[in-house]
């Protein structure tokens, strides 16, 4: 049974390799890649159900028992993210079918999306920190290609910076790994946690922890987000949506694992630092979102605000805050994907990127306009939609943890999010229409259905938050009590 944990990693890789040989058969590529993602979503849902009843499951590759071998671990937290990521990817693929264009499809677009998702799922599932590095690299290499694919001037320029920054970040990851291995002599995450707890988290280990914090912050866009707005606004829309939904979230996942499981013992230093970084990220993100004149800038800075808000949950670290952060993480993956898809579609329809030059879209495309309105409300955290529960729980957590500054910044940022997105809504959707009936481009059916599907998920998560609470409670319990995780890995036997 536990063998199927490896499927979310292995199936995309195998399918991607097969798709490389089907270069000319675009229809076949579409069908296979879409079915693959649906299949992975189903598998991860089944796994999630199994974990609810049987507890954490793991697979030791080729029978090397932990701490010696590499292993995959599936707990509720990672499976929730795998599930969300797979669903969002399949919907982004649906959007890509009608918009990405034949030249991309023939240049191995689908294989690289599958490689990307393999890396993302692998990062979520692995229980070995060096394997995490490898999965990160799989994901990043696919993302390098996806940023540069198309080969336009600005794309190449931005992708070069993106690649160089990530190469340096990966280098720092290796440095951190070297020091970690030098200090605790193990790479299995559960075993690291146990060793760190045995010796107490001395200053040496805290330094290593801070090194990991820097590395994952670069990947997550926490404080070190200077590379993000440029590189996220150049690729085609479907790729942007995938990046905004998944890439920073993998960094956030790694931060949660590192600072709840491996280095939770010195929160005065590490968690305070995360709190300060989250606060500055929120403020800087808000400034960026306010100052932006084109919709890509506003949307990318909204990604950064989302990252800052989620990490308030980790910085506060109470049970309420952590479960709020998980809710918000899931919400953010879906809502950011939808936001970027809509923004890309707006640019496609009007040919403009500057907010003020667009006007009256809602007259031509009423459904499209109202879906934008919906995602705006969701991102702000208005009750019936998905952002609400997460924001409230993080808020309660911050009050419990008496962290009022972060509380204030966090909720002030919600208002800025509302303002920046409402500005787009008022300027671009309301007012006189600039598109005459003759020039009106149709929104492709595939794209429209992807909007509707994501909107339905957003409403479902908001209204049906109760149905998810079982999974999220389980995930929170494991994050709050690392001993559950450690025991499942080290004492579980085969």
């Amino acid at each position: 049974m536990s063998n199927i944990i490896v499927l979310p990693l292995i199936i995309p890789i195998i399918t991607a390799v097969i798709l490389v040989f089907l270069r000319e058969h675009i229809m076949l590529q579409r069908v296979i890649s879409f079915l693959t993602m649906i299949f992975i979503s189903i598998i991860s849902f089944v796994l999630l159900e199994v974990v609810q009843t049987e507890g954490i499951i793991k697979i030791d590759f080729s029978g090397w028992l932990p701490p010696f071998g590499i292993l995959f671990v599936a707990d509720s937290f990672s499976l929730l993210l795998v599930l969300t990521a797979s669903i969002v990817t399949s919907i982004c693929l649906l959007y890509a079918f009608s918009t990405i264009g034949e030249s991309h499809e023939k240049m191995f677009f689908y294989p690289f999306v599958l490689f990307l998702i393999a890396g993302v799922n692998g990062s979520f599932l692995t229980g070995d920190i060096f394997n995490l590095f490898v999965c990160f690299e799989v994901m990043l290499l696919a993302s390098y290609v996806l940023v540069a694919l198309g080969g336009e001037k600005v794309q190449l320029r931005e992708s070069l910076k993106y690649v160089v920054i990530n190469v340096v970040a990966s280098w720092m990851f290796l440095v951190a790994l070297a020091y970690l291995y030098g200090t605790v002599k193990t790479l299995n995450m559960a075993h690291i946690a146990e060793r760190v707890a045995e010796v107490g988290q001395d200053p040496m280990l805290t330094t290593v922890a801070i090194l990991f914090l820097v590395v994952f912050s670069l990947k997550a866009g926490l404080l070190l987000f200077f590379w993000l707005p440029g590189s996220y606004s150049v690729p085609p829309t479907a790729v942007q949506a995938l990046f905004a939904a998944l890439l920073t979230k993998v960094g956030i996942y790694a931060l949660f694992r590192t600072f709840t499981l491996m280095f939770p013992l010195n929160p005065e230093v590490t968690h305070t630092l995360i709190g300060i970084m989250a606060g500055i990220t929120l403020i800087a993100g808000c400034m960026g979102a306010l100052s932006g004149r084109d919709i890509y800038t506003i949307a990318t800075y909204n990604v950064i605000i989302g990252v800052g808000f989620i990490l308030i949950g980790l910085a506060v670290g109470t049970e309420e805050a952590i479960s709020g952060a998980i809710y918000y993480l899931i919400h953010d993956i879906i809502a950011k994907a939808l936001l970027f898809l809509i923004v890309g579609m707006m640019v496609y329809l009007t040919g403009e990127t500057v907010v003020k030059k667009m006007s009256g879209l809602i007259r031509n495309y009423p459904l499209f306009g109202w879906i934008y309105f919906l995602v705006m409300l969701a991102l702000t955290g208005i009750p019936p939609f998905s952002g609400f529960v997460g924001k409230v729980l993080i808020g309660i957590g911050a009050i419990e943890g008496e962290n009022f500054i972060l509380l204030g910044i966090g909720f002030a940022s919600s208002i800025i999010v509302l303002y920046s997105l409402l500005r787009i809504f008022l300027a671009s959707f309301f007012g006189e229409t600039i598109i005459s009936l003759e020039d009106e481009k149709k929104i492709p059916k595939g794209a429209l259905s992807s909007f509707v599907l994501l909107a339905i998920i957003i409403v479902f998560i908001g209204v049906g938050a109760e149905s998810m609470s079982g999974y999220i409670d389980n995930a929170t319990r494991t994050l709050m009590n690392p001993s559950i995780y450690i025991e499942a890995i080290l004492k579980g036997g085969q």
């Binding site: 490898v134 190449l156 070069l160 160089v164 280098w171 790994l177 291995y181 707005p229 004149r293």
Partner: protein, 112 residues
């Protein structure tokens, strides 16, 4: 021996950092390559240099040398090789398309 290695790592890191901070694309790429060599040596060193015998049960009874750092470095070398190859191709394409290999000129304005 370990101290000597660490000094070497330090030198490599400073050379790499200097190159990464320069404006020319090729220098930056060479810099990242040197940085990755430095970290491979670092992993080797923190794992402890040769302390015992080959870690094969049939060959000796121990104490054994830790074989894990080698495995880690091998993986890291493969990855950095792939990334560097990709980076070189990307740099060449950027040079051809944008007509410049100077990061200062590749800055780009946010609102162009």
């Amino acid at each position: 021996m370990e101290s000597l290695m660490i000094v070497l790592v330090g030198i490599l890191v400073s050379v790499g950092t200097y190159l990464v901070l320069s404006r020319n694309i090729i220098r930056v790429i060479v810099g990242t390559a040197i940085l990755s060599h430095a970290v491979h040596l670092l992993i080797l060193t923190v794992g402890g240099l040769k302390k015992g015998d080959v870690p094969l049960l049939s060959h000796s009874g121990g104490p054994f040398t830790d074989a894990l750092p080698q495995a880690l470095i091998l993986t890291a070398i493969v990855i950095s090789f792939a990334v560097t190859a990709f980076l070189l191709v990307l740099a060449y394409r950027t040079y051809v398309t944008n007509g410049s290999d100077d990061f200062q000129e590749l800055r780009g304005m946010s609102d162009e």
